[in-house]
Point group: C2
Chain length 209, copies 2
DNA sequence: GTCTATATGTTGATAGAC
DNA sequence: GTCTATCAACATATAGAC
């Protein structure tokens, strides 16, 4: 990710901008937000902001990347711990529940997921890589759980991973449309069907965090 | 759907426009298509086209409504036949497979699904009503199948319907990103897990139509 | 009903001063 | 590095002729 003028200070400032933009979008929502709005929010002029990013599309893609980093640090177990299906389920549900508190990021994500279908769009790479990484990481865990008889082996592990991803993304659409919808409940239901024994009983409903 | 100036001829023309627009979008794709592009494609000027629709957003929403009508006529069983889980599964899979042949409509649907989150957007009503109708129709069938022991009763019927909807929508995102993805296979996998006995063995893979 | 022409607005992006 | 000022490129929507 080496860019023109990526000296230490520039990189730091860039990160600072992204963090601020992340907060703004999460709090105030993304509704076809313009570069100008983000610029105002982070305390720069529009031109000043675009000094750090090649285009609007790249800016918003980077916001998503930053979100992933932040969430990963918050919700994924440290790499030292051994992966397990229980941890995977827990991480998934925690992430989904967290998403329900940052509607703007869900909007941004969903919007770019559509725009990023275009191979020319900067978000294209992001979504392809993200999907691959997501499914490869969870694929291992699921396959292992299948061998242990915890997860159904009626369908391949890769398919299960796609199901998980699809249901998460799809529930976001339903939730944006009707915010009273409980995304986590439906995701949890899928786990319940795939791995009846592995879903924590205490995970039901909107468990106290 | 009574509109200003909805005389018979105007309504007919409107329908004609929508059918044409539907074909155009399905064939040439939706990539932030403008009113002008649609107008050119259906042989009208931009102003001429907007004579029949209040706004761009309404036009595109109506294109989706027309799509639903067309698909419903093509893929849903006649109302005389008794609903059954087998028919539901078959209809779902046929629809998903068909979608893979009209990328433009999938793009349009997904795009409006995001934009329509805004209650002010004309597509909002469409998506709310569509979701409600979809889940209410399939909810009955699923609940009945649960009573017959064909579908798992580990989760409520309504939740199962949301899962189906979410996985269909979510797989569209994955497929738009990577068109080699087999949407139907994953949807079918969900049915397989929910109702092992009810999925037609011959339905595997890309069955000959 | 349909056109041409245009009003009006917004956007992302750029040039150049400081 | 950051600003002000400005640009060109669209978009949708409307007014008015025919």
């Amino acid at each position: 990710m080496v860019r023109r003028g990526s000296y230490a200070k520039g990189v730091a400032k860039r990160q600072e901008i992204l963090r601020a933009a992340l907060d703004v979008v999460a709090r105030e929502g993304y509704r076809g937000a313009s570069v100008r709005q983000i610029a105002d929010a982070v305390g720069l002029s529009q031109a000043g902001l675009l000094h750090y990013f090649d285009s609007k599309e790249e800016l918003f893609t980077e916001i998503l990347r930053t979100r992933d980093q932040v969430d990963q640090a918050a919700f994924e177990p440290p790499p030292s711990t051994s992966p397990s299906i229980a941890r995977l389920i827990d991480g998934y549900l925690r992430t989904v529940r967290h998403n329900a508190e940052v509607p703007g990021l869900v909007q941004l994500f969903s919007r770019l997921a559509v725009d990023g279908a275009d191979p020319q769009h900067p978000a294209h790479r992001y979504f392809v890589e993200r999907g691959t990484a997501l499914r490869s990481a969870s694929g291992e865990v699921v396959a292992q759980a299948q061998r242990e008889g915890i997860v159904t082996d009626a369908v391949p592990a890769e398919t299960i991973c796609r199901m998980l991803q699809a249901i998460s993304d799809g529930m976001q659409l339903q939730w944006m449309l009707e915010p009273e919808t409980d995304m986590a409940e439906v995701v949890r239901a899928l786990f319940l069907v795939l791995a009846p024994g592995a879903v924590d009983a205490g995970e039901a409903g909107d468990a106290a965090s």
